[in-house]
Amino acid sequence: MTAKQTPLYQTHLKYGGKIVEFGGWLLPVQYSGIKAEHEAVRTKAGLFDVSHMGEVTVKGSDALKFLQKLVTNDVAKLADNQVLYTPMCYPNGGTVDDLLIYKENIREYLLVVNAANTDKDWKWIQENATSFDVTLANISDQVAQLALQGPLADKILAKLTTAPLEQLKYYWFWPEIEVAGKKVLLSRTGYTGEDGFELYCVPEEAAELWEAIMAAGTGDGLIPAGLGCRDTLRFEAGFPLYGHELAKNISPIEAGIALFVKLDKGEFNGRDALSKIKAEGAAHKIVGFEMTDRGVARAEYPVLVNGRNVGRVTTGSYAPSLDKNLGLALIDAEYAKVGQQICIEIRGKSVLAQVIGKPFYKREGKE
């Protein structure tokens, strides 16, 4: 399969993006540098191209009923114009994907899924819809998406729209407003642990929208931000990444996001399995850890306790905001307590680490 370009591919080249392949897409891993971009998003603002994300619409009289079966969180509690984060599970409790659900009204929802999972999810969603009165559409190719993230995102966006941004609360959206003269769906959402927005527009207008936002924000320190810092930012903020902390064989309970599994909402895919895991306790858990000896843990490195393999690293990196080498690992539940000494096997050597709490980073003023 040839990797695809987003509508902003030429823009990335123009801004000096270093292009890599990710989830079947050609996207910039960085422009000026991962640390500088990370820092900009934490202290000022960064602009991301996230057009690779997949979008699926679910419409019809059974839309709510269908989504309640499809995902683990409670879609019924959503108001119009509200956004919900939810895992989507297999009947055995393993995770198909994690996604956002935008409720336009009781008959119309937008699902935003991970790029690398779009084809798989689309198939899964269709297979599960057979007995429901819903109309599904995979509109991924008709939607571009930008993410403007950081404490100054609000100030920058305010220069480009007359909409009262202060009224748009975290995890709410407006289905159609004008930003820089372009019609966008605007949500106060993101994957960085900072305040920020995600803007959905038609692909033809993505490059102009990007330029308008950059022009409005450059004076405030806005810089383009790539996938590299998107990963370090979400990692510090404790958000799971599918394929790392969530997977076909990692349930949301094991991933530590049981909060988004509502066992009492009625029947849904994976409910029985997840109830059982919750009642009996997960055998493995995602934990955070800090390297206490010198070394950087990386995904797939073995985790050892007393020389015995007890799990593996799912994400490991230098964490720029904390200036520490940190990681997430899936390990036997008995070693998941904060303070537990573990070892990470790095190139054949056992390097000391300690289980610590998650998330590693919380923005000021956020509970």
């Binding site: 991962i34 640390k35 590299g228 070394g295 950087v296 990196s317 230098y318």
Partner: protein
């Protein structure tokens, strides 16, 4: 991109500065820019013997883990301990303060297998691998 005249270069993007029978080794400006922000350097012990082609150090950036291979054979006589606490020196000053080790050469003729600055520049222009 900065390529310094008078140094020798390997196809693994290491540079070698020869003084007498001692070779100081680091990574090139091209290498550090490809790596991105360096956050960790794993250094070898003093006094170990390496052969040309052996991995003797590991440089890690935020996203990448890269082995550094000895461009020449010999005994490691000096290690740049500054990189332990300030790995970012590799990005900031790859040809001077960012040196990694010094090796006492066992076979000075191995230097003939390396590129000079002009050849290295062509090598990078052609894709660098």
């Amino acid at each position: 991109m900065n390529i310094v005249q008078g140094l020798k270069y390997s196809n693994g993007h290491e540079w070698v500065r020869v003084e007498g029978n001692q070779a100081t080794i680091g990574v090139t400006d091209f290498a550090q820019s490809q790596l991105g922000d360096v956050v960790f350097v794993e250094l070898p012990e003093d006094d170990i013997i390496v052969r040309a082609g052996d991995g003797f150090s590991v440089i890690e950036s935020v996203k990448a883990v890269s082995d550094i291979y000895a461009p020449v054979s010999g005994k490691i006589v000096k290690v740049n301990q500054e990189l332990v606490n300030e790995p970012e020196i590799v990005n900031q000053d790859p040809y001077e303060a960012g040196w990694i080790v010094a090796i006492e050469l066992t076979d000075i003729s191995e230097l003939d297998d390396l590129m000079d600055a002009d050849a290295y520049e062509r090598f990078v222009a052609e894709g660098g691998h």
